[in-house]
Symmetry: C2
Subunit: 332 residues, 2 copies
Amino acid sequence: MRCHRCRATANVEIRRSRTAYCARCYPDWFRGQVQERIDHERMFRRDQRLLVAVSGGKDSLALWHVLTRQGYRADGMYIRLGIGDYSRRSQEKSEAFAARHGLTLHQVDLKGDHGFVVPDLLDTRSGKPCAACGTVKRYHFNKVAADLGYDVVATGHNLDDEAATLLGNVVHWNTDYLGRQGPVLESTHRGLVRKVKPLYRLAERETAAYAIIERIDYILEECPMAAGAKSLAYKDLLNSLEEQQPGAKHRFLVGFLKEGRSAVRTGAFDQSTDLRECTRCGQPTTGDLCAYCRMAERGRKKAAFKDAKYGRQPVADAAPDRSEAGTDRDSA
Amino acid sequence: MRCHRCRATANVEIRRSRTAYCARCYPDWFRGQVQERIDHERMFRRDQRLLVAVSGGKDSLALWHVLTRQGYRADGMYIRLGIGDYSRRSQEKSEAFAARHGLTLHQVDLKGDHGFVVPDLLDTRSGKPCAACGTVKRYHFNKVAADLGYDVVATGHNLDDEAATLLGNVVHWNTDYLGRQGPVLESTHRGLVRKVKPLYRLAERETAAYAIIERIDYILEECPMAAGAKSLAYKDLLNSLEEQQPGAKHRFLVGFLKEGRSAVRTGAFDQSTDLRECTRCGQPTTGDLCAYCRMAERGRKKAAFKDAKYGRQPVADAAPDRSEAGTDRDSA
C-alpha cells in the first residue's frame, strides 16, 4: 500500500477508512484527527489550562505529546497507585517523558499521602481493585485540577476503551451510565472540572503507532491487577467483531453517540442539584461522606491490618497525611 | 451433579441458574419454562388457534412438541425455500414429525407457487439471501395465518437467536428495531397476525437437549446459505462472553427487555396508521407494492434468467402460479 498523502510506501494502515500513511505523514494525520475532535466537540480553547491524566502508558503519553505539539498549555498528573513494580516503572516513564519535553508533572502518592495503595482495595466479589482504582483516579485528577485551577482534565481513553465500556454498559443495560457516556463530561458543579477524551475515536493500535513513530518511551505491559478484568474481555470481543467487520468498533461507538445515546432515556439524576460538600474532604458528593473518603477509610484499615500482620511500619508514621495540604508534591 | 428435582444423576446442566436435571425430569422443567413464559407474557389462550412456523430444525420442532403436549391447538407450517438438499431434508423431517404426531402441516412451495427460490434472492452487497429469506418467511407465515384464520403465529426463536439479533441491533444502533424487539409482536392491523416467541428465554443448547431427550428427529446442519452470516458471528461473540460470564446472554436479553427497551425512544412509525393493502397481494403495506411483492418480482426475473441460461423449463409452465388461490396446499 501507498501513503494516502505522499504516495511513499505506507507503514500504518487505517483499515476502517481504507487508507494508509507512511511513518513521516502518519503523526500529522494523527494530530489532525485529535485536533478535529477537540474543535468539533468544543473540548477546550487555546487560552485554557489543561491537566492531562498520565499513567505512563501509550495513550496518555501520546495525548500529552499531541496537545503539547499542537500548542496547548497542558501539564501532566501522575498518581502513585502502589501496584508494585508496575507502578514504579510507569512512574519512571511518566517522569522521563516530562523531563525530556520540559513539562510539569504533578504527582499524588497514595500510600504516602493517604495511607493505602490500590491493592488494599480488592472488591470482595470480583477480587479485583479495578472499580475502586477508577474512583481513586477520578477523585484525585478532579481534586488536583480543581485545587490548582485547571479548566479541563484530559484523559487518554481511546476508541477501544470507550467501545469496551459501552459494550459493558449495554450487556448489563446500565441505562444511567449509557445516558452519560461521551467524549465530554460537562462540569455541573464548581468543584467538578470538565472532563474530555480527545483520543476517543482513535483505535488503540493507532495510538500505539503514534507513540512508536514519535519515539515515546511508554510502559508496554498492562496493569497486572487488570488480568481477567471484564473490560479486557469486552475488548477481546470487540476485536473479534472488528476482525470480521472492519470498522465495527468505530461504528458501534459513533453510532451510539449519534443515535443511541439520545435515544436512551437516562434515569440519572441531574448532577447540578443535590450536590453538597463531603464533610471530610470538601469534594462534591450526594451524601455526607463522598465515595472516595468511604473507600479510602476501608483502604487505610486494610493497610494498617497488613502492616501490623507483616510487621511493617504504619504509613502515617513514615509520611504524615498531606492530603489536606494539597496534592501537588512534585514538578519535574 | 444431582437432578434438582429427583436427586438422580443429572444429565443436563443449566449453568446460569446453577441447577441440573436428569433426562426424566428435564422435559417437564423445559415445558414448565415455556408455559411460564406463555402465561407471563399472555402470548395466547387455550381456546385460540396457533400456527407454528416449522423449519425442520430443533427449535421449531421442539416448540411444536411442547405446545402439543401442553394441550394447545397448534398446526404447523413449512415453506419450501428451494435451498437444494438442505430444503429437501428439512421438509422430510417436518413432514415426518407431523405424521408421527398426527398433526396438520401446511406448506407453501416457493418455486411451484411463486416462481422463484431463496438462492434467487442474493443481496448484491452481502452476497447472501438471509435478509430476503426473512422477509419471505414473515410474509408467508403471516399470510397463511391470516387467510386460514389462525389467532397467533408462534416461532421457535430461542435465547441465542434473540440475543444475537439484539447485539446486531445494538452494534449498529438500529433504534427502530430495538424499540420493537420482544417476545410478543402485537397485531396492529387486521391483516397482521400476532407473533410470539415462547422459547425466547431458553438457550439453544437447552432446546437441543429437549429435542434429543424427546427423540425429536430434526435436521442437524445449519442452512448452508447462512455460512458467514453476521448473525452467526454475533452468536459466537455471545458464546465467548457466556463462557467468561455464565448467564451473560440471559442477562443481556432480559436486561434489555426490562430496562433497555423502555429506555430506547424508538423512531418507529406507529404501525397501526398509514397501512394500506398491497395492490398485488392485498397484504398490509405502507407503499403501493409490498416489500415481498417487489422482492418476489426480482426473484422471478432472476429465476427466469437462470432457467433460460441453463435451458430449464420456466416454472410458470411447469406449475401455474397458485399464490392467488391460497397457500394451503398440503396437510400431513
